[in-house]
């Protein structure tokens, strides 16, 4: 910011024109002052304006600066000085290693055997018959390269790697050494001499260092020596930061002809004479890259010299990659910070239209970062490689990996990438660009840079994992002598190809991951790959994933059909389809309990990789589907309820002889928007809970002007409506009018239950009168009324809005959304189950939970659209854990347009109520921009919201800790440790229980028993009889100053917390059941009489309270 400001200051001296605006007669001083002030204003405004051009926003720019300063490594600091000291010592030690004459392979091996040093020859090991000699000479040049030299290191939990690159003298090599691993064999010997020299040196041990072999970026052609600390007091380690030094031998420049190393050339000659020499792109690039360390370092240096933001953009890219689990190693994708930096340097020179640079030197770090992402996202480097300095075609036929080719060094910069890692990279780049483009997203910066996004359970819709075959089997599985480095990669590649072919368009992305190799001992016998797991992440295409038939080619296309038959084996069959075509196809049993994709994965693995592999397969996240009745199915489970509602609508509309015509009938219940935990109408439940329905009549002037009278009039209407409905369908409809809000005469007084005993559908109708809201508002704002009355009016107004105004709107929005996203409905239900299991369901409004789930689908960034319950549920939970509700509202945008005012309203609310006493969570949506209607009246309170966040964080941490061994049921176990007392209530038997014949106590419904109907009279009488729920509601109201209850009605468990009340002076309206503590000077100090309160609660509850335990 500073340099910009300076530049502006020189170019924008106050001109005469500005001064002319001052009124005449003002004295000189004032004029100067005014001019200065005006200048400052313009200056800042100009700075602001400029920033807005090159950054996303000011906040984004400032956040970027903060983060960059946070991760910056202090190069001039004491720590780094010490590290540099170690580097110098190591370099000196290396320089002191004596040269060794050229020897034949047998002698070399013997010599090293004596020294007990392993020579890390790459596979296949050199034959005994090779004639060339191995020698060691002091490195021609050695220096630090990589990000340490470029000063783009980033602080973090990972160890910092410092690359010490040694150029081997060119005398050691001959021109033909590029062939048949000869260079790599010599390099391995060179390295073993270094290992010998360092490993047996005393000084090295005195520095508390140890040396191990590792593979450079997992490339098994290129072992390196890793120098790390060997215990306490080493200069490489400190509390905050750990460093390792990688000693990398490199090829002298110009030894190998670059023309021989182009990707389509063959450099490893086949052993059989007659075989066709196949291209060896990986080998070639790996070899060519050996000579590029210093040239690339120079290039990056010059780029950061000419382009001010280059280094910062590299750091941004580095952080971005690390958060998504990308790294330079083959096993972590082959695209790390080095590849990012080199690509960025190349794109400064070219890659744009007409060969111009895609990036400009004047770009800000954010612009450069974003342009890089755009390049990665938009350009398919597999189909359309980026080539510099070579006119030849660098594509290798049949290769599915990306190419950024540097003709000067004949190296494909992205040679370590696999096809799945490249797809993943592009996918992530696209998601990040979506995030940056999504205006409703409030914390873009966090999700782009700060959030860790490499947890497979959050990232993928389904995760499949199975162990690698043992080393011996791997040997058998993968043909030796092929050119990709590492057997695991080859094996993974085969799996990827098979899955890709088998799952077709059911998935949009397949990603494979496995742990890289660990460093191994320099004195060991031989390197053996560690056993591990291969983790397959899948992203589903929601439309296709459940499809049960795969259509193949027509049998007339002989080649394709044969390939199809070969791939699918016995599963492939010729079928005739309804459209008349006869084609090869594969069918899967759709009704089976295992999802289709799982059947396919198992089948493919067992046919192509052996039964043992298929048996070792574990599918993660499947258990989420079994948490619910009806499993993964979406809104279709609610279709019978929707149908029942349509019938109700028709029946009500058929009523004609009531004084006012009916204008509108709308549902306002979770069961009418596919969002209730239980399925309302299913065979196991004969009768559903009455679903709220709002009926609006045409407007009329004959309604009374008084709130109480309106309620009574409504009751009258309902009575009439009930009679008419019963008369309309005498045998099919039963109605009853119920009363509510006895203590609040201005609230809704009566409702009408309409029951269809034949289907089991039940609805609760209330009448919406539009004048009510205005009357309540007047009453709330009427200064002549007492505060108690005004509070009551406010409460009534909120309830009126929730039930009559926003209830139907919310129901419509969610129902439509459930239709659009098939996984939304089950996600809402699992989330609700979580809230209820964690004893939060009583305080957190259902609508809030639904909006929370809807947000995950409407604004999926930084992830892709969730395609399974697991991903949607875990992401919702994660968002909840991260939600800083003090500073951020939840806004759910159904219509797809952002609302700036919403944020302003929120900030206004917070300014007025900084202690959050009126509204802790602010939750809005497209239909509710001003009020946060579901969380009004402090529901939930701050303390509950804090508990919600704490529980979500704990769950999120548990999921992350469990990783692939995630047990979903463990998230649904309530934590009762923090409660002061726990009540066990009698669980309200809702519908499952078969009613006993004798219990005909309540005869307000006179019914004739019908054998045909699945609903009995007792069922009807017990409908909505929920004593435990009623009890908890009542207790919460009676003791609202004293305690807070956290009930779960499905288990009957209730946690209770005392509201902290300090002992205080007694007065008549102290507001809680008091107990005298002490008496002083005629004043009595009292505290809450907890035993008496608990005794009272148990007395009121009677047999509803099964047990009480006090901590």
């Amino acid at each position: 910011m500073l340099p910009v400001a300076k530049r502006r200051r020189t170019s924008m001296s106050p001109s005469g024109e500005e001064n002319a605006q001052l009124p005449d007669g003002a004295d000189e001083k004032a004029r100067k002052k005014h001019a200065a002030a005006q200048h400052k204003t313009q200056l800042t405004a100009a700075v602001v304006g400029e920033m807005q051009g090159s950054y996303k926003s000011n906040v984004f720019r400032m956040e970027t600066e903060e983060m960059l300063s946070e991760v910056a490594v202090a190069y001039g600091g004491k720590r780094m000085k010490a590290v540099e000291g170690v580097l110098h010592c190591v370099k000196a030690l290396i320089d002191a290693i004596p040269d060794r004459e050229g020897m034949k392979i047998a002698q070399v091996e013997q010599q090293m055997m004596k020294r007990k040093i392993h020579i890390p020859f790459p596979e296949p090991r050199p034959e005994k018959s090779v004639q060339y000699t191995f020698a060691y000479k002091k490195p021609a040049y050695g220096n630090v390269a990589g990000s340490f030299a470029l000063k783009t290191l980033v602080k973090g939990k990972d160890t910092l790697g410092i690359d010490l690159v040694l150029t081997m003298p060119s005398e050691l090599f001959s021109e033909k050494d590029y062939l048949n691993h000869r260079y790599f064999y010599k390099r391995a010997y060179y390295l073993s001499v270094l290992a010998d020299g360092l490993g047996h040196s005393h000084e090295f041990k005195e520095l508390k260092l140890k040396a191990e072999y590792d593979f450079l970026n997992g490339d098994q052609l290129k072992p390196v020596l890793v120098v790390s600390s060997n215990g306490e007091g080493c200069a490489l380690d400190s509390k905050r930061m750990k460093c390792v030094v990688n000693i990398i031998p490199s090829a002298p420049p110009g030894v190998f002809p670059t023309s021989k190393l182009f990707p389509f050339k063959n450099c490893v000659r086949p052993q059989q004479q007659d075989a066709e020499p196949a291209p060896t792109p990986f080998y070639n690039a790996s070899l060519a890259a050996e000579a590029t360390y210093f040239p690339y370092l120079a290039q990056l240096h010059s780029a950061s010299g000419t382009c001010a933001a280059f280094a910062d953009a590299c750091v941004l890219g580095r952080i971005w990659l690390r958060q998504r689990g990308f790294g330079g190693a083959v096993s972590s994708g082959g695209f790390g910070h080095f590849e990012w930096a080199v690509l960025q340097a190349f794109l400064l020179k070219g890659g744009g239209p007409k060969g111009h640079g895609l990036l400009a030197t004047g770009y800000s770090n954010y612009q450069m970062f974003k342009a890089m992402l755009q390049f990665l996202a938009a350009r398919n480097l597999v189909v359309d490689p980026l080539v510099f300095g070579a006119s030849e075609n660098v594509k290798v036929p049949g290769n599915r990996t990306p190419v950024v080719f540097d003709g000067e060094h004949a190296v494909n910069v992205l040679f370590k990438m696999t096809s799945w890692s490249y797809n993943m990279l592009r996918h992530e780049a696209q998601r990040t660009l979506e995030t940056l483009g999504n205006a409703t997203f409030s914390n873009q910066f966090d999700s782009v840079f700060l959030q860790r996004l490499d947890e497979p359970c959050y990232k993928f819709d389904a995760v499949v994992h199975f162990p690698f075959p043992s080393a011996a089997e791997l040997e058998k599985e993968v043909a030796t002598g092929t050119e990709i480095s590492g057997k695991k990669v080859q094996y993974a590649d085969r799996i990827y190809k098979a899955l890709r072919e088998g799952l077709t368009d059911r998935v949009t992305l397949i990603h494979l991951a496995y742990a890289g190799e660990k460093p191994f001992n320099i004195k060991g016998r031989k390197f053996t790959p560690a056993a591990g797991e291969i983790v397959v992440g899948l992203l589903f295409n929601a439309q296709n994933v459940t499809r049960s038939i795969d259509r193949g080619p027509s049998p007339e296309e002989k080649k394709k059909a044969a390939a199809f038959r070969k791939f699918w084996g016995s599963k492939a069959e010729l079928r005739r389809f309804p459209d008349g075509s006869i084609i090869e196809s594969v069918t899967w049993p759709a009704k089976s309990k295992t999802p289709v994709y799982q059947q396919i994965v198992r089948y493919i693995l067992s046919t192509h990789f052996g039964k043992a592999v298929a048996e070792g397969v574990t599918f993660v996240g499947d258990a989420f589907n079994h948490l619910l009745e009806g499993g993964e199915q979406g809104a279709t489970l609610f279709q019978p309820t929707y149908d029942a509602f349509n019938t109700l609508e028709k029946d009500i509309n058929a009523i004609t002889d009531i004084p006012l015509a009916i204008r509108h009938i709308s549902g306002a219940a979770p069961s009418l928007r596919a969002a209730s935990i239980d399925i309302p109408l299913s065979p196991s439940y004969p009768l559903m809970d009455p679903a709220n329905v709002v009926v609006q009549f045409e407007s009329s002037t004959r309604w009374p002007q008084d709130l109480v009278a309106i309620q009574k009039t409504k009751a009258s209407f309902l009575l009439r409506l009930g009679q008419l409905l019963e008369a309309h369908k005498p045998s099919e409809i039963i109605t009853r009018v119920g009363l509510e809000n006895e203590d609040h005469p201005i609230m809704n007084y009566a409702f009408l239950d309409i029951i269809y005993p034949q289907t089991g559908a039940a609805f609760r109708v209330r009448i919406y009168h539009d004048r009510e809201a205005a009357l309540l508002e007047n009453r709330r704002n009427n200064p002549a009324l007492s505060p108690r009355e005004r509070e009551a009016a406010e409460a009534a107004l909120v309830e009126h809005k929730q039930i009559f105004v926003f209830g139907p709107r919310h129901t419509d929005s969610i129902r439509q959304l459930c239709h659009r996203y098939p996984h939304l409905s089950p996600t809402i239900r699992v989330l609700k189950r979580w809230f209820s299991a964690q004893l939060l369901g009583f305080h957190i409004p259902e609508e809030l939970i639904e909006l929370l789930a809807a947000r995950t689908f409407l604004c999926p960034q930084p992830y892709a659209m969730p395609g399974s319950i697991m991903s949607a549920f875990l992401r919702s939970l994660q968002w909840l854990a991260k939600w800083d509700w003090r500073k951020d509202p939840l806004f759910v945008d159904f219509t797809g347009e952002s609302k700036e005012d919403f944020r302003a309203t929120f900030e206004d609310v917070r300014r007025k109520d900084p202690a959050l006493n009126h509204c802790a969570l602010w939750v809005g949506s497209s239909y509710d921009l001003k009020e946060s209607v579901w969380t009004m009246l402090n529901r939930p309170a701050k303390v509950v919201a804090a508990r919600m966040t704490a529980l979500a964080r704990a769950a999120d941490a548990a999921v992350k800790a469990a990783a692939l061994s995630l047990e979903p049921a463990s998230l649904f176990v309530p934590a009762t440790g923090e409660f002061d007392f726990v009540l066990q209530l009698r669980v309200d038997k809702k519908r499952k229980e078969k009613p006993q014949k004798q219990e005909t106590v309540y005869k307000n419904l006179q019914l004739e028993e019908e054998d045909a109907s699945p609903v009995s009279v007792e069922d009807l009488q017990r409908l909505d009889f929920l004593p435990a729920r009623e009890f908890v509601h009542e207790i919460s109201k009676l003791y609202q100053n004293t305690l807070l209850l956290f009930p779960c009605f499905s288990t009957g468990l209730v946690g209770g917390v005392w509201v902290p009340i300090n002992p205080r002076r007694w007065k008549a309206n102290v507001g809680f059941s008091s107990m005298v503590l002490e008496e002083k000077d005629g004043e009595v100090v009292v505290a809450v009489n907890k035993p008496a309160v608990l005794n009272e609660i148990c007395r009121i509850g009677g047999e509803i309270v099964r047990a009480l335990s006090v901590r």
Binding site: V48, S1073, N1095, L1108
Partner: protein, 294 residues
Amino acid sequence: MPSATKLAKDYHLLPLRLPAISKGGGGGGGGAPEATHTLFIRKHTPRIPSVHDARALYVSNLPADATEQHLRTLFTAVGGGLVESVVFDDGPIPPATPAAPAAAATDSKKRKRLVVEVVEELRTWDRPLHRSGSNAVVYFVDDASSTATLRAITKSRKTPAEWPAVGPALGLARYAQHHRLRFPQSAKLQESVDAFMAAFAEAEEEAKRAAARRRQEPDEDGFVTVVGRGRAVPQEAAKEALRKQEEKKAEVKGFYRFQVREEKKAKQLELLAKFEEDRKRVEERKKDRKFRPE
């Protein structure tokens, strides 16, 4: 228990023994153990005194399940005084019909008549509960029994009185009864609603008549109150009109040069303000150390 007999403001303590509750059924844990509740009692001295004050006691810190019957039994047991009636202080908020204040303004006789006319509401609880720590005024049959009771309380302070188990059943039965009462018979409900509407209509009529009378009768100073007859203009319509007026005003935006200039300036200032706000927000987050990648 404290030893002093009298508390500030003349309160007397009456300890109550709440019997232990055995556990209601299966499951671990136990029921609630025996507990002692304390009533705070004094002579009733309301701000506006009345003739009945002498025979009334103000009872504070009542148990949530207290009923008139409880207090009756309790005080008979303690001091032998006969309770006439009990008025709890947390009854429902009285429904305020628009007619009532108008009637109240005229004279007290009519108000009384109106109160009498308020119809009996259908109740859904046979035993309403009270907020924890609520109060009641207990009226005894005569002054003597109230004084005697208070004296007895002072004497028997050390031995807690038994909280009587009277009144309609609590627990599940109470909720079942509530469930039954919630769904009254249609005829009964209709009757209640009709009665209310009739009373309401009459009260409205009465209010109208009172208003008409006021229009005609001059007051003490000989003035006649002017009262509107017709319906008031609905608020929404007024707002709409105001909005339209404002819209008209806003139509000439950006026409004059000074307007353009001012707009520009305002924009600039707004930008600056936003910049400052953003800066503050980032500073705040920096304090929370939120800029370190996970």
